[in-house]
Amino acid sequence: MTSTGLHLIRSNALNHAPRRFLNAYDGNWHVQITQGESHVTDNPKEVLTTILGSCIAACVRDPVAGVGGMNHFLLPESDSGDSTDLRYGVNAMEILINGLLKLGADRRRLEAKLFGGANVLSGLSDVGHRNAAFAEQFLKDEGIRYVGGDIRGDHPRRIQFWPVTGRARQLAMPTTQDPAMLVQSELSLARAGRGERKVDHDVELF
C-alpha cells in the first residue's frame, strides 16, 4: 500500500504504458488522461480518469462495437484575444474519433458525454464556458449523439469513464482544493463505504 492508501501497481513494471495503474480496490486499470492526450480502448477493465477545470473531456463510444475513449483539451484564446482558437479542439476531437474508428467503431453510432468547461477563475475569464459551447456545437455539427455529462459551472471536476459500457462518474471538487487532496478524499469516501448515486444524464457523482 502506498502512503496515500492506494493499492497501486505501477504498470511500467509490467511493461505497460506509463500512467496506467491497476487499482486493487476495483480491479480495473485506471488510465490517467492529461491535457492534450487522448486514449481509446476496447478493454472493459479500463477506466479513464482525468481532472478538469476549464478544460473539456469528451467521452465518446460506440455501444455496439464496444469501444470508447476520452480526450482532454483546452481551447486557447486566439491571438486577437476576442475569440477562442478552435483548431486545437477540432484536432483533439478528430484524434479521438479516428482512434475509435480504427478500433472498429461506426461513426453513425458514436455517442458522447461531455465534462468540464468550468469558469474556475470566476470574473476573470469565461474560457471554460466557451470550451463547453465549442464541444456542444462540435457534436451537433458532426452528428454525434450527446447523451449526457456535466459542463460549465465554476467547480473543477474529477472524472471517471468506463469507455466500453459508457458509465461515467464525476466528483465536483471545491475550487480551492488541490487535486492531490482530492485523491485522499476519494479514498476516504471509498473506505467509508459511501455508495454512488445516479443523477441526471446517466452520470454518477462520487
Binding site: L86, V90, E94, I95, I97, N98, L101, R107, E142
Partner: protein, 129 residues
C-alpha cells in the same frame, strides 16, 4: 503571382468542423472559390468532371482514405497536375513520404494556423496575390 480569388479549390474532410476551419482559413487568405466534400469518393466524382487547381484532402477518412484518393487522381491524365496537399493528424514521416511518392505536392499537419496554410499553398502554387 497567383490570383487567390481565381484559385479553384476542393476541400475533402469527413469532419464538417474541419472543413469549416479550412474554408475560413482559405477565405482569410483570399481564396473564395472552394468546394467541400465529406468523403474522397464524392470528391473524386466531382473533380473528374470539374478539375480544380488545388485539392486539400484529409488522410484519415472512412472509406477511401486520402492516399488512395491521391493515387486515383494521379492515375487520371486530367488530374495529374492538380496541386494536392494532404492534411494529416500527426507528423507521420512515413505517411508523408508515401504521400509524396504518390504525387502529393505538400502536406499540412493539424492543427495549423492560417499562416501555415498560406505558406503550404504558396509552396505549391506560388505566391498568392
Amino acid at each position: 503571382m497567383v490570383a487567390a480569388a481565381k484559385l479553384q479549390t476542393v476541400v475533402v474532410d469527413d469532419q464538417l468542423t474541419m472543413r469549416a476551419l479550412v474554408r475560413t482559413g482559405l477565405q482569410q487568405i483570399g481564396i473564395t472559390q472552394s468546394r467541400e466534400f465529406p468523403s474522397a469518393d464524392e470528391a473524386l466524382q466531382n473533380v473528374l468532371v470539374q478539375p480544380p487547381h488545388l485539392i486539400i484532402s484529409d488522410f484519415n477518412m472512412p472509406g477511401m482514405d486520402g492516399l488512395e484518393f491521391l493515387k486515383k487522381l494521379r492515375a487520371n491524365p486530367a488530374l495529374q497536375n492538380t496541386a494536392f496537399i494532404l492534411l494529416t493528424g500527426r507528423a507521420d514521416k512515413e505517411l508523408v513520404v508515401r504521400a509524396l511518392q504518390a504525387g502529393a505536392n505538400n502536406y499540412l499537419v493539424k492543427p495549423f494556423t492560417v499562416g501555415i496554410l498560406k505558406q503550404k499553398i504558396e509552396q505549391v502554387v506560388g505566391a498568392l496575390a
